[in-house]
Amino acid sequence: MIRFEHVSKRYGDSLVLDDLNLEIATGEFTVLIGPSGCGKTTTLKTINRLIEPDKGKIFIDDQDTSQIDKVKLRRSIGYVIQQIGLFPNMTVEQNISVVPKLLNYDKARCNEIVRELLALVNMPYEEYAHKYPSEMSGGQQQRIGVLRALAASPPIVLMDEPFGALDPMTRRILQDEVSKLQKKLNKTIVFVTHDMDEALNMADKIIFMNKGKIVQMAAPEEMLENPADDLIRSFMGKHSIDNESLPQTAADFMRSDIYSCYRNRGVREAIQQMARRKVDTLLVKNLDETYAGTVSIKNIRNHGKDMKTIEPLITQENAVSYVDEDAQVCFDKLLNGQDSYVVVLNHDQTIAGIVTKTSMAKSLADAVWGDSQ
């Protein structure tokens, strides 16, 4: 367990850490997040004493870290940084063995550790152990960076935006790998990021900081549901779920920019309209604007060439819904039926719009990701 008690740090006039109190449980994946300059990296670096606080104490398993020899303390805590920082003069094997060597492990044991760790991330020993960092991609390098931090089995690992410099694909893969490793090896990980996606993806607990103080400390679900203030909400962005705006009825999903024609129109005119709008069916209304049915190009081709108006070709087989019908019922009609759309009617039987699979997907996307514009 890591415990901060009244920890403060000041650089010149600015208070970077303001009377910080927090506890990180053993085996927990804790993410520190917040706007830049909020003190998250400083918090991280006070744990392995790369930064010494002005006031307050930090305990690891009830031992005051300021009483432990710095060098000894650091060897018992894994450390991963954004710039990776592999030693360019050392091979992968030598890089991973740095801390074990500092702790005077013998050669055979170092080699065993390297083999085990490389196997964990599916990097064959024969292929990678003797490569230099400059011979590998950024993603591979940071994998080694993580393994290097794990080499001497430290119970605690500190990670300072470790995936910040990687492309989104690689970042996602490494996030999953690190999550798996953490579960498997049961490490206490303290992870700094400014990417809420990453935090939600990996954390057991998120600590949101601003101006050197903790704004909220909660599990990801809890933070999503009850963000403590507007700043956190804006960080959540697309993730925040606002139940009230969730679309509920067919009307919320329908397209209303649709074309319909009167039932007494000629067949030729109907064909032209279809061609112009690039559709294969038309909505047909009665002269009093109420819904009459649909007419399809297939029907016209089969029977209608010599007819004057579309009237005899109208069918009423297409699925119909009403504006205030539950959205779920409407979707069921759309997904289970044969039709490519559901006609939505107002209560006076006039046409309100249609729900297509595309409009359904778009509305759902808007609801989940916020306004898609």
Binding site: N48, L50, V71, K72, L73, R74, R75, S76, Y79, I81, Q82, Q83, I84, G85, L86, F87, P88, N89, V98, V99, L102, Y132, P133, S134, S137, G138, G139, Q140, Q141, Q142, R148, A149, L158, A165, L166, D167, M169, T170
Partner: protein, 204 residues
Amino acid sequence: MTLNMVMSHFYLVAAAVVLTIVIGVPLGILAYFYKSVRKIILWIVEVLQTMPALALLGIIMVFMGAGKPTVIIGLLLYSLLPVVQNTYIGLSEVDPAIKEVAQGMGMTKLYRLWHVEMPIAFPLIFTGVRIATVTSVGTAVFAAFVGGGGLGSLIYRGIRISNMAMILSGTFVLMVMAVGCDGIMSYIEKRLYRRFSPAKPYNE
């Protein structure tokens, strides 16, 4: 000209360069570690370099008398600048992220210097040694004036007896030596840089 002359010229240069490394590299490390002495060390080696080589040898001769030690010390003082400076710069320019990680992993200052910073700075330090070697080959000609021997005496004698062939042959051998040293050491240097090229993350 005898092989003896060439060998004695080589000896002067080699002895001076070895001493330059033994003294210059630690001075560079001191300058890197201690801000308080940094300016003084870098200033002294720079001033030494600005003195005319002949004057420097003359001054040393006053204290040490004529002979090879005078020449070697003169060459040493004259060669310190590239070695000290490159050691200092090489160590200072190691990527701060690498220094931070090394510290964060629990390396002591000296362990970090020996296992991380010196290996990374080594190619640049080697460049300094190469420059020192090549300039020393030329500067060692002045050894003739303070009784140090070497190819300088051949050229000096050629000038006194107006023997153009003698002057040219001495000069030619000197040039071959300088170009040869430079070529061999440049080759090693290139391989060093390739081997130690710092890790640059790139996107997959």
